[in-house]
Symmetry: C2
């Protein structure tokens, strides 16, 4: 039994998310169907991050176990030949038997893009925020969430995870022309966490939530006290580190 | 009679091009319909560049004459409210009566993006070239076309323009990570010219056409001797200067 790892880029615009489900096109299902054709074998593809509908990935990582003897190039070529243009497999390699795309991950990196003007070309890859924003205050908020914290207030309420502690190793806002780019890396992320953090920091940047309230929001461990979730379209899963 | 100018960004992916025509969704027609609703008046919108199907614009400029007394913000807000998300009007202002978006233009700037790896996120905004390319040679070719030349060999054969002289003021290839970006500015462009130039320079970069042949290709004034046309999706009309 071989354990094969995939490095995957996708445009999530036309998908209901990474996870296999019955209510629409999903990335995991598309890759599993293609592998079924290529390997003549049913496989279960495990993704590092279960991105929501409309969320993109430049560096999603997944693995699956298989009996195939096919080489990496044949698997990669087969996948890219069968998959739609909005999913691209960039690398295929073999990993130790106990490698698990999700549990073996040491760090995850996400980016979030905000535009200060509406954009036709970036409309599926950014959030247009019309309010004037205090970027320094947003960076202070990003610095305040860096480190180990209980992020339950930034986790979708219907999530049934027991432990809400995450260690954020970096959280940075960068201004580039009319774009605002946020990057955040952590050992783990809760469901909806990046979008809830971005939405809350935007609320702080526009003065709707006070910076000093951020500590209270974290302490309350209740999603309803944090800000709105930023739209899915601005979020990209950039990289998984093992 | 007022003469109103529009600065327009659009994603050309789902359009048959700028120009009004019966065979599908076009940018000019979409803007004219929206203006008809807003102004209660039929107007003729003149674009600076008639981009082909799949070609994008960050800085298309257009003008129309109207009897309306509506202010700029109302026209802009009305257009962005009525137009689909893939067309955005960034600015509306008033120009002298003799201003003509196409004939008054002094310089036009286009960009063309090539990816060295297939990309899911950039698939509609770039051309994936799998050949290895000699970028230095491509830049030598770009420098060779700078200046005033007869570009008939790079003009679509069915075009009925008489004068094929264009003055290219700059033509530059830039490598950024796994992207190759070409920018070119000129006083005018012939139909299909940027795509024919990019295709020919790629043919030179991969050794399919010799650099020394470029001068012969220009001299022959015949589209069939130049290289293939690069795909529309990589081309963006960046800016018109008046």
């Amino acid at each position: 039994m071989r354990n094969i790892r995939l490095l995957i880029e996708y445009d999530g615009t036309n998908y209901v998310g990474w996870q296999r489900q019955d209510n629409g096109k999903n990335i995991q299902g598309a890759i599993e169907s293609a592998l079924h054709q290529i390997l003549q074998e049913k496989v279960n593809v495990i993704g590092a991050g279960r991105t929501d509908a409309g969320v993109h990935a430049r560096g999603q990582t997944a693995n699956f176990r298989t009996e195939t003897k096919l080489d990496f190039l044949s698997i990669k070529g087969g996948l890219n030949g069968l998959l739609a243009e909005d999913i691209v497999v960039h690398n295929v390699d073999e990993v130790p038997h106990d490698f698990h795309a999700r549990y073996s991950a040491k760090e995850r990196l996400y980016s979030y893009t905000i535009t200060r003007n509406p954009s036709a070309l970036l409309r599926n890859y950014s959030w247009y925020v019309k309010y004037s924003l205090d970027i320094d205050l947003m960076q202070r908020a990003a610095s305040a969430i860096t480190g180990t914290h209980d992020f339950e207030s930034f986790c979708k309420a219907n999530s049934d995870v027991g432990n809400h502690f995450c260690t954020v190793s970096s959280a940075i806002w960068l201004e580039e022309d009319s774009l605002l780019r946020f990057t955040i890396s952590a050992d783990r992320f809760l469901h909806g966490m990046v979008r809830a953090l971005v939405g809350t920091m935007v609320d702080i940047g526009r003065g709707y939530i006070q910076f000093d309230d951020l500590i209270n929001i974290l302490a309350k461990k209740n999603r309803s006290v944090a800000g709105m979730a930023a739209p899915a379209r601005g979020l990209i899963l950039e990289k998984i580190t093992y």
